[in-house]
């Protein structure tokens, strides 16, 4: 194509490197820092050598073969490596790059060995543009697809993703395969462009470019890799006009400057938002300006200000008549020598709001973690909805209808409010990989549907904010609400809430209490860790009190809290004991009045 002039080869290589960079990005968006694209490309590069030179296969078919072989090698590599956490994946794939070279050197009947082998250029420029266009299309269509949202979730909080019934391993495997398919395509394209394959063709150089391009261009958007690849290929061309020896050094300096000053790369969809957030943070710090993006800053609820006008818990039906939604039998959990939970046994009746109370460090959050499968107990049994789920994986427990929130908010910062909630719908989504790519009606319907339901959930939990604003820009209290909405999106039978009202003012807390009750009306069981005793007294049907991992008391909240050991252990000081007594009395009083 003449219009590219003598920059033709530069542009062509930019495209090849862009494909490599997108391959890196596809894995990286699921938190997989992998250089395995290089050896995968080596496989397809040498496959294309055989197909083109020995079998005269048309290039279009060779390109398709590259995608397929790449996909299969992605699958193959994922079998052992998808188990590893991100750091270790990086190390293992570096080793793969080095091992691939040894294989290429020794398989000389196929690869030409150390002498290398010439390969005829078969790709035309339209193949390149088509290949890049197709990959861009797939990436764009998947940026917020089911896979895209799952990848985002798995990258930022793998544990949270698992608690949302997302198949973490499966998502990673899909990303490995996608990354492999793109790297495979890149391998065929690159082989055809260099026209000569040697053991060093697919080696550290490529691995370096595929990583650096993504970092330079931006690792939070698929377009970043393309930008990075073009900058990396074209910049040296420009620099060569001024320098004969220094341009490699300029590349080095560039990388360092980017990492220091633009850590998210040139393309960063959330940059503007981040800058604003930062500005606000500084303003708050220096004591002026509007508090937060949500326009709402809620102070810590005053534990002891008594407002008992809220709706109260339905008087307990006899517990034993109702089936247990959740029962914990003799659970014990230790970390090192530290006992976090010690032989805990209790039962949560179905359709109730159940409180867990205790001072900081009592083991409440650990308990929640054990119940949701995030942590494994050392011994004891957990039954949920009649099934023994002891030792189950978190994802499987979540699939059975157990949802949770976290003590410190765990939202996906690079997703909007609605998208965050939509992650919770993953379990019920039916679209496959191809639906978004071919824009099937099913895909369109599903997206519209779920977005609509996500907005409804926003309203239900009372999120104040725009559906399409980034979750990170909400106030803390609203982020908590989004987290509850996300958990509800799973349509759980059991909902585990970890301090849902932290950072909320009184009315907000009450609204959460109301919400919990309304959920039980729908048959949900809610287990809530709460410091706000007022909330516990008002809305929980039953509660347990924990300290040092032990159970201090269980039963109706008022009884629990007035238990002398609880008062002693929990509140320690006499004055507090007096206050809680008065609180309990008042609660009984007002409860009586209402009835």
């Amino acid at each position: 194509m003449a219009f590219l002039g003598h920059y033709a080869s530069t542009v062509e290589f930019s495209i090849a490197f862009a494909l490599f960079a997108i391959a890196t990005y596809s894995a990286l968006r699921g938190g997989i820092l992998s250089l395995a694209g290089t050896p995968m490309a080596a496989v397809t590069g040498f496959v294309s050598l055989a197909l083109v030179e020995d079998h005269n296969v048309p290039i279009e078919l060779v390109l398709v073969a590259g995608v397929v072989v790449g996909l299969l090698s992605g699958l193959l590599v994922s079998i052992p490596l998808a188990r590893l956490e991100s750091h270790w994946v990086a190390l293992a794939t570096i080793a793969l790059v080095l091992m691939a070279r040894v294989v290429v050197l020794n398989l000389d009947s196929v690869t030409g060995g150390v002498d290398g082998a010439p390969i005829t250029r078969m790709v035309e420029q339209w193949h390149l543009f088509t290949a890049l266009g197709a990959v861009m299309w797939v990436m764009a269509r998947h940026s917020r697809s089911r896979l895209g949202l799952a990848a985002e979730a798995v990258r930022s909080h793998p544990d949270v993703a698992a608690s949302l019934a997302i198949d973490v391993y499966g998502t990673r495997r899909s990303l490995w395969m996608l990354s492999g398919a793109i790297a495979g395509l890149a391998g065929v394209v690159y082989a055809s462009l260099v026209q000569f394959l040697s053991p060093d063709t697919f080696y550290v150089n490529i691995a370096f470019v595929m990583l650096a391009a993504v970092v330079l261009g931006g690792n939070r958007h698929w377009f970043g890799g393309i930008v990075g690849a073009f900058v990396f290929t074209i910049l040296p061309e420009i620099l060569r006009r001024f320098l004969t020896q220094g341009e490699t050094i300029v590349n080095g300096v560039l990388l360092i400057l980017i990492m220091i000053y633009l850590p998210r790369g040139l393309v960063d969809p959330t940059r503007k938002v981040r800058r604003e957030l930062k500005k606000q943070a500084t303003n708050i710090h220096s004591g002026h300006g509007e508090p937060s993006a949500g326009g709402e800053q809620e102070g810590e609820a005053d534990l002891w200000s008594l407002n008992l006008t809220g709706r109260t818990a339905p008087e307990a039906e006899p517990t034993r008549d109702r089936p247990a939604a959740l029962s914990v039998e003799g659970i014990r959990k230790t970390y090192g020598g530290l006992v976090a939970i010690s032989d805990l046994t209790f039962t949560v009746p179905e359709g109730s709001v159940f409180g867990i109370v205790g001072p900081n460090g009592a083991g409440k959050s650990t308990l929640l973690s054990v119940m949701s499968g995030g942590d494994e107990s050392d011994r004891g049994k957990i039954r949920i909805l009649g099934q023994d789920m002891t030792g189950w994986k978190q994802t499987d427990i979540a699939r059975e209808g157990v949802a949770r929130t976290y003590q410190t908010v765990q939202l996906f910062d690079d997703l909007t409010v609605v998208e965050n909630i939509m992650v919770g719908f993953d379990r019920e989504r039916r679209t496959n990989f191809w639906d978004p790519v071919f824009m099937t009606p099913r895909d369109r319907r599903e997206r519209a549907d779920l977005a609509e339901r996500a907005r409804a959930l926003m309203d239900l939990v009372g999120v104040i904010g725009q559906p399409d604003q980034y979750a990170a820009t909400l106030s803390y209290a609203n982020q908590r609400r989004v987290e509850i909405a996300r958990a509800l999106a799973m349509e759980p039978s059991v909902l585990l809430l970890d301090e849902p009202t932290a950072g909320m003012h009184k009315l907000g807390s009450q609204a959460i209490g109301e919400l919990m009750l309304s959920l039980t009306d729908r048959g949900l069981t809610v287990v809530v860790i709460e410091h706000n005793l007022e909330l516990v007294l008002n809305y929980c049907e039953q509660a347990i009190v924990m300290d040092f991992g032990r159970l201090l008391a269980q039963g109706a909240p008022a009884d629990c809290l007035s238990d002398p050991t609880v008062i002693e252990a929990y509140f320690g000081r006499k004055a507090d004991a007096a206050r809680i007594e008065s609180l309990v009395k008042l609660r009984q009083h007002s409860g009586g009045q209402q009835r």
Binding site: G5, H6, Y7, A8, S9, T10, F13, A16, F17, R101, L105, G113, V114, D115, G116, P118, T120, R121, Y190, L193, V194, Q195, F196, S198, P199, D200, T201, N205, T233, P236, E237, R240, L243, T244, Q245, G246, E247, T248, I249, V250, V253, I256, L257, I260
Partner: protein, 435 residues
């Protein structure tokens, strides 16, 4: 803090730029200061006397017999050079460039091509990267001022740039890469002699001199040139009926040879043949001798540099190697080059420097032959080069554009650190430290 960091980085950058620039200017002044040893009668000659093998060339040689220089108009004539001054191959690429630029200045200052005629090698660094080399050469091809291309220290890079150059049809001269597929009678030529014939030749000489029963071959397994050298050696050993006890693979970036040396010695061979890259061969010889190996070693040009003696000293005794160029050679052309090179760069030229120097003269000769500044003329001019007196000795080009040398010299180190001729006999081999 931020500003300081930025400043330091900028400073580092400036230092680098300064360092690069500095090297150049220093070299320039040094050259002008260098004793203007004779502008020896043109160091290259185009002789038509050589028997020609193809009909096409017979005609061009006849033309070449007439005075070819006449037509070259004053002006600056440009060639595109692909350098490797970064990355792992810089150990060869840097002297390549230095030799080339030294010759370029020499050619221009002495008016070798006539009054007002200068040549210029455009230099771009590909760092041994295929994609970068392709981009660089495509840009050269698109630049109409570039008359011919000089490239490649690596066969993989040569293979990568080849198709586009063949298509473009301008002359391409390979100054260091050794892949046999490079040369092409249409437009691809090599300016230096390949080493494989010399490897075979010295293997034959060693077999004749030492009459060994068996041998061990050590090779750098990830370098194509050395693997072909290994094959050349194995071919000779095979046809001479000598048992090969083992072939030991080493790798280019190895830093330790104690294991392979121990293995080689343990095989108890009569002769050890080395086909290794750069420093690994020096280490190998050192380890073999230090560990008590007393037999003859047959090496290659990797142990022929001045640094080698500094590094390995008397452990090098008793090792023979074939060589086309070494700075201590009595040849006046070599002496002249070595003196100028040392004056310019403060170091003795090695084989790579000689390759760079040689290709610059080769291109000048081609331009002179062609008689005008067009690609066609230069291509024609390259084709006309049949023999040339070079720092490697007398080179002769065959119809494929492949250079061969009239006679290879076999050398060995002497106890006072000089390369001296080995006469090809067992008696002529100087005793090594274990004898």
């Amino acid at each position: 803090m931020t500003r300081i960091r930025l400043l330091v980085l900028a400073l580092a950058l400036a230092l680098v730029a300064a360092a690069c620039g500095d090297g150049d200017s220093e070299a320039t002044t040094a050259t002008t200061a260098a004793p203007a040893t004779t502008t020896t009668a043109a160091p290259t000659t185009t002789t038509a006397a050589q028997t020609t093998t193809t009909a096409a060339q017979t005609t061009t040689t006849t033309e070449a017999m007439e005075e070819p220089v006449a037509g070259l108009a004053p002006g600056n004539y440009q060639f595109g050079f692909t350098a490797v001054v970064s990355g792992a191959v810089a150990f060869a690429g840097v002297p390549h460039l230095q030799g080339l630029q030294l010759a370029e200045r020499e050619i221009n200052e002495t008016g070798y091509l006539g009054d007002g005629v200068t040549i210029e090698f455009l230099v771009e660094d590909a760092g041994g990267d295929q994609a970068a080399a392709i981009a660089i050469n495509d840009a050269y091809i698109a630049n109409d001022d570039v008359l011919a291309l000089v490239c490649c220290a690596l066969s993989s890079v040569a293979g990568a740039i080849q198709p586009n150059i063949v298509e473009a049809g301008l002359a391409w001269v390979d100054h260091a890469a050794i892949a046999p597929t490079i040369t092409d009678p249409d437009n691809a030529f090599r300016s230096f002699p390949l080493s494989q014939p010399s490897t075979a030749a010295i293997a034959e000489a060693a077999v004749a001199a030492f009459a060994p029963d068996n041998a061990v071959v050590v090779v750098t397994a990830d370098n194509d040139g050395l693997v072909s050298d290994r094959d050349a050696t194995l071919g000779v050993l095979d046809s001479s009926g000598i048992e090969v006890l083992g072939v030991i693979d080493t790798f280019a970036d190895d830093t330790d040879m104690s294991g392979p040396a121990t293995e080689a010695i343990s095989m108890g061979a009569d002769v050890i043949f080395l086909a290794q890259l750069g420093n690994t061969e020096v280490l190998m010889v050192q380890e073999l001798r230090d560990r008590g190996y007393a037999g003859p070693i047959v090496g290659n040009l990797a142990i022929a540099t001045a640094e080698t003696w500094e590094q390995a000293g008397d452990t090098l005794l008793g090792t023979v190697l074939p060589i086309a160029f070494f700075a201590g050679k009595g040849d006046p052309m070599v002496q002249d080059f070595a003196a100028k090179y040392e004056a310019a760069y403060d170091t003795v030229p090695d084989i790579f420097a000689a390759q760079g120097w040689q290709v610059a003269w080769f291109m000048a000769q081609a331009l002179k032959n062609g008689g005008e500044g067009t690609r066609e003329a230069v291509l024609e001019g390259v084709r006309q080069i049949q023999t040339m007196e070079t720092v490697f000795g007398t080179l002769t080009w065959d119809a494929r554009g492949e250079a061969t040398i009239d006679a290879w010299t076999f050398v060995q180190w002497s106890p006072d650190g000089e390369l001296v001729i080995w006469d090809g006999s067992a008696e002529g081999l100087l005793p090594n430290i274990n004898q």
